[in-house]
């Protein structure tokens, strides 16, 4: 356990750090001005989407987002490497089951809407992917051992789809002479929608599979058979 002197000292040190942080941030905020806001907002019309945040995520700083989808994939692969999943929940009662039968299609419908809305209003691939993942989690809570996910081969393909499409679009554009992840004029909107659709599928599938934990299904059944 923490020794007595540390119990006193740690809060004091942290309060001192806090005072410095508040002071530094206040100074910085006062002197900061407009930062990147004006530059970014000015170029939103060129980005292919009208929602400024989506412009930053999928165009100005698309490379960050690519790596971020890779982080999500890494987490899933790490979870798979830790061995089999915990046993599934018991099947839901008829009332809960009936509710799930309503909620899951609604969630999937909202996924599509959220993905489309991201171009001009708050929304986008991550919000849509989170809804899709929630559909999977709802199914798992209702006792579905696979959370509605497909078998191993297709599950693996869906989980890498986001990184695959994102990187492939980047490399193909580079090979065509535009530069890595540099969308040619007029194509930005459709390329962004294409990447976001793939990313949404991957994010949804990854979140649901991460919630289940454990290696993909086929692998498990084949092992328990031998």
């Amino acid at each position: 356990m923490t020794p007595a002197w540390a119990k006193v000292l740690i809060p004091i040190v942290l309060i001192a750090i806090g005072a410095v942080l508040v002071w530094a941030f206040s100074l910085a905020a006062l002197e900061g001005g407009d930062r990147l806001a004006l530059i970014a907002l000015e170029r939103v019309p060129e980005s292919g989407v009208s929602n400024p945040i989506t412009s930053v995520l999928l165009n100005f700083r698309a490379y960050d987002t690519l790596l971020e989808v890779a982080v999500l994939l890494t987490a899933l692969l790490g979870i798979w490497s830790l061995g089999p999943a915990a046993p599934a929940f018991q099947p839901a009662s008829p009332i809960l089951g009936g509710m799930i039968a309503w909620v899951v299609p609604l969630l999937i419908l909202s996924t599509g809407y959220m993905l489309w809305a991201g171009g001009h209003a708050p929304g986008g691939a991550f919000q849509a992917g989170a809804l899709l993942g929630a559909a999977g989690v709802t199914l798992a809570l209702g006792g579905d051992a696979s959370a509605g996910l497909p078998g191993e081969t297709r599950l693996r393909f869906l989980s890498v789809l986001g990184v695959l499409v994102f990187t492939a679009v980047g490399v193909i554009l580079m090979a065509l002479g535009y530069g890595f992840l540099t969308y040619p004029e007029g194509y930005a909107k459709w390329l962004i929608i294409f990447i976001e659709t793939a990313a949404t599928l991957s994010i949804g599938v990854t979140l649901a599979a991460a919630y289940l934990g454990g290696e993909p299904r086929d692998e498990r059944t084949s092992r328990s058979a031998t």
Binding site: F25, L82, F157, L176
Partner: protein
Amino acid sequence: MMIDLLALAVAFPLLGAVVVTATPSHARGLGLASAVLTTLTSLVLSLGVWRDGSVRSDFGGWGAPLGIGLQADGLSVAMLVMSNLVALAVSVYAGSYFSATARRHFWPLWLLLWSALNGLFLATDLFNLYVTLELLGLSAAALGALSGTRAAVAANLRYLLVGLLGSMTYLMGVALLYSRYGMLDIGLLAEVIEPGLVAWTAMALMFSGLFLKAALFPMHFWLPPAHANAPAPVSAALSALVVKAAFYLVLRLWLDLFDPVLNASVANVLGLLGAGAVIWGSWRALRAERLKLLAAYSTVAQMGYLFIAFPLLVATPPGLARDNLLAAVVLLAMTHGFAKAGFFLAAGLVQKTAGHDRINELGGAAQALPAATFAIGLAGVALIGLPPSGTFLAKWIMIEQAMIQGLWWWVVVIMLGTLLAAAYIFRVLGHAFNREPTPYRFVNDARTEIPALLLAFISAFVLGLIAQPLWTLLDQGVLG
């Protein structure tokens, strides 16, 4: 047709990871192919920088400050070459080390780690570095737990959490810099940053996060269990490359961004912590009961030398002497990368053959596994810093500079650390040469022994004798 090697150095391992995840039954073949392709890309890129100078590429065509780009200069390329060669050797070794089930988990995570490393050495954007650091931290922790033992899972969970603490602290510093200067690109920030409370606080936040990740004493507590319990090829990558990436970032931010902010007292604190790491790490390595734990503590000590260089760098006025010192630090980091990877790979072989890695019971290892023992010996030459290793040259320059600046106490620390390193290496070799029957065969398992031997050989001979190109390389962007 346009080929952007900077983008490909990150994109190839990423695509490789995608392919091996989707087709796990061909993980080894496709994984090795991606490894070769990535290494070739990095080497061609490095050759270009060596000949023609730094290159930069802006993704999306926006350019800084709005967009993100990658940039390769002498310093990043030096680390890139070392990392990719070590990673290639680790890949060859891993090809025959893992069982069929472990293999399908190893390859995707390993290639993701590799793309994070390449991305980190080439990054120019502070927030992009945060994402890269997280990709590195997550893949490293997941790989470290692959051996599946309870000790490995617990140690790597701790490593993951400490890494996250470091990332969050780093990110707070980035937020502070963005709020004051409204930019995230290192090069642009360097033009406008001024000494003062804001810059100083941001530096303190970012550096303390990175020190945690670089396992700088006394924040090293997570490293020995995590590195000692991981599978051997993963230990090699964690010790040789992953902690080195955090050190590279400290050096990069120090040189490119925080140079006007820094003063001698900050550097002296770093040097003191480094000295603590050298003494404590070497002492614990000497007392370690297991070979891999010894190697892990030795990493703590070797990271210490890298931080001792900071007070020397600050004390030395700009000019030839400072350039030499900087090159010496990079040479030290590179040599340690090769040596420690070779050491861990060979130790993994000993552990696999003997069924354990307790140093006191290693008797006869030299007879059973002459190539592995030889690799440990060669890597030991570099870890101690005997001539003609790169460490010898680097330590020589550091000691010389410390003498010239009258900072003799750093000389004492370096000497003491060297002495302790000699003691722990000879302790291993002493036990390995215990019994005397004739060796059967020098090489027993070429696919695992040759990578270890090659890495150790590079660390002990090649880097020290052919260090000249490094000076040429660092001229591109860092020196002068």
